[in-house]
Amino acid sequence: MKAAPARISLSAWEARYATLQAAGPHAATYDGPLGRHLVEGDHRLATLAFDNSVAALRLWNFLLTEEERLREARAAGKKLVGAMKDLGTVPVLAYAAPNVVAFYPDGAWWIPCIMEMSAGLLAVADRLGIDDSFCPVRAVLGAFETEAHFPIPDLLTCSVGATCDDFSVIAQRLESRGRHILWWEIPHRRTPRPAEDAVELADGVHVPQVQLELVQAELTRVRDAVSELAGITLDDALLAEGIRVANHVRRLLNTLRHAVFSAAFCPLPALELLIAEMLALHYCSDRAETIAVLEELQVEVDRRIAEGVGISPADTARVFWVNPVADLRAMNLLEDCGARLCGTDFMFCHALDELDETVPPLEALARAALADPMAGTSDSRALRVCRDARRWKAEAVVVSRIPGASHCATEGGRICETVETELGLPAIEIEVPPLCDGLEPALRTRLEALVETVMERRCQ
């Protein structure tokens, strides 16, 4: 049952779901009304605006039922790997083992938002001495302490080195609470010296061979640990197959992103696009279903583009967004202010780049890890933002600061300066806390001012 594209409230979705059910149930086993998640404690849903497509409903249900999938996986005898910080590398490796499911405990950083603080995770972090001067990802500590939001992984890994200090200290605090962590080094990515052996990464950046070898050696340790956990040898054939599937997911996402960013009418809201991109990280604990969810989204987006319809007018301001938001509501706010997404860097753009299938699998994964924007300089990240903003004809850039995060103290300003210098586009920094209701008037004013700037520039 197709409806004109729109962003609708949770209550409107409840009514629409009833209508859809009358027409026949959806095939996905986790199907159901969105309102059930509200009843289970996901209070933020009541204030969000959702895309009204069946594909989006499936996406949301898939996202919000991950905990159940993880518990089912454990009950089925599968081993759980908790990958922390690397965003997109270790899960590719872990899913190559047929009896392993990997996920990011880091994702707990959205629990204070989704549950509107009712889970008390930040309060637990406070009690452990990690207060609100640290990044909201400190909710991870609360999730491990309460053991109420995901099953405790059988193996915990964490990349460290060229990472944000906040996550590094939070993971160390976690280890001090008795959670053993396999730390692996990701070095600060540097420019090769003129005569130095170097390799080109998927995003065109070159790294010294010596750094690639270091990361490859580190990932070999991770592979060995996963192999031991799984009780199988994760050989190159298995890893290559894992990479092949990862690339399939990444291709689906890149097709989707390009369609959304380049369509005349925005065919998918910012919030749903953010969630779709997140699927690249660890497949929301189900690789096959991730593919199905993305394919259905693509069908919906293609249909909307073919019909020339979207969720906002054609002249909506085109905005490139940098960094994930602690409060999902901020993505709604962008559209409420008359803008649409035309490019993103949610801190894991390297997890969207296809892995190189022509080199040995561990080398391909090492290359991907080194392409992490957080491993390089703020300037190299800014240049990629500029490249992608230019590609999708963005008219402005929003850098969303993460409260307390060490990287945000420096990089936001650098990115804004580079965007203004290289592209001549307006760029602003905003800060989004886990619940932004109290700041919404200020955020709205800044976003509206940015949109007005874009409109004024069009007139010039």
Binding site: L128, G129, I130, S133, F134, C158, V160, G161, A162, T163, C164, D165, D166, S168, V169, I170, A171, Q172, R173, E175, S176, I181, W183, W184, E185, P187, H188, R190, R193, V210, L214, A217, E218, R221, T377, S378, D379, G404, A405, S406, H407, C408, A409, T410, E411, G413, R414
Partner: protein, 324 residues
């Protein structure tokens, strides 16, 4: 080397071996920084990292060496806006694999290449060994003096040694008294923070262990003459990478092992924990220290160079009264 620059190479990380810089023909200067007067703190920027970037800009040095031991310092290297050449030394956070250790060694070699490109010289046979031996002898004198001198005097001697690498002069320094034995712990101090030592001593405390990053915790291990002769670069890797415990290492268990042992050896009864605003790496250790060390701990985040305000003074007085 850029015109007008001095022969000095400035740095702030204890993982930069000054012997390595000196053997390449430069004068290593580990600086004690004044606090930043800029708007960095308001942006969430670490005061120390901001101050070092500003120092690099203003120093007229041949080069400034940054290290990746924290995200803030790693990113601060991009804040240098003048034409001072910068080098970012990758210091692995992990230490339990041979890979990480080898990488640190490779980074020292890369630093050497940088210094040669800057106009330095490749250390001739024996030069590195001789330099290591000289520095090691100075540190030995420093350590011995540190067991007798007051904490404030030892801190000054350490600063002087970091500045010029020469044997410390502690003649005339007031000997250690019988105050309450206190350990200082934390990250790098700013120049103004040294007043905390004097405040402790003025309130019947005795600083018997300076485990801040500017203190004795960050001194490398003594280097055996034979090691310096056989493989001087390996001797540096061992003395610095294998030995210096720090909060950023993962896991950072060695910091706790070392600190617990030193506190026990010196009869420490209280800890003054000093961290800079927005220094996540050290601030996050406060609750763990509280859990692991069974003794009173006072956490302070003093302002940079403005000296000690009434807030800090009152807290130190109250802390020491509690311990007496």
């Amino acid at each position: 080397m850029r015109p007008g620059a001095s022969n000095e190479v400035v740095y702030a990380s204890p993982y930069v071996p000054p012997e390595w810089v000196a053997a390449h023909g430069f004068e290593p200067r580990r600086v004690l920084l004044e606090g930043s007067g800029g708007s960095g703190a308001a942006m969430g920027r670490c005061r120390f990292a901001q101050a070092f970037a500003e120092h690099a800009d203003a120093s007229g040095a041949a080069a400034a060496l940054f290290a990746t031991s924290c995200d803030q310092m790693r990113r601060a290297s991009s804040l240098v806006v003048e034409d001072c050449p910068t080098f970012l030394l990758n210091v692995p956070a992990t230490w339990q694999s041979a890979t990480a250790r080898d990488y640190y060694r490779a980074e020292l070699l890369r630093l050497g290449d940088f210094l040669v490109d800057l106009g330095g010289t490749v250390p001739a046979d024996g030069r590195l060994t001789e330099t290591i031996t000289r520095y090691d002898a100075s540190r030995r004198v420093l350590r011995e003096a540190g067991t007798l001198a007051k904490g404030s005097a030892f801190a000054k001697a350490l600063t002087a040694f970091h500045r010029d690498g020469k044997p410390p002069v502690l003649d005339g320094a007031v000997p250690r008294g019988n105050g309450v034995p206190i350990a200082f712990l934390g990250g790098s101090l700013l120049a103004g923070n040294s007043a905390v030592f004097e405040l402790v001593e003025a309130n019947h405390g005795e600083v018997v262990l300076d485990a801040t990053t500017t203190g004795e915790r960050s001194l490398p291990a003594p280097i055996a003459p034979q090691s310096a002769k056989d493989d001087p670069l390996e001797a540096l890797v061992h003395a610095y990478f294998d030995h210096i415990p720090d909060a950023f290492r993962r896991p950072n268990t060695r910091l706790y092992e070392w600190f617990t042992r030193e506190c026990a050896d010196r009869g420490v009864r209280g800890i003054v924990f000093i961290y800079q605003s927005w220094c996540d790496i050290w601030r996050a250790e406060i609750p763990r220290m509280d859990e692991i060390l069974d003794m009173p701990l006072l956490a302070l985040s003093p302002a940079g160079s403005e000296g000690m305000d009434g807030r800090i003074t009152t807290r130190i007085q109250a802390f020491l009264e509690t311990l007496q």
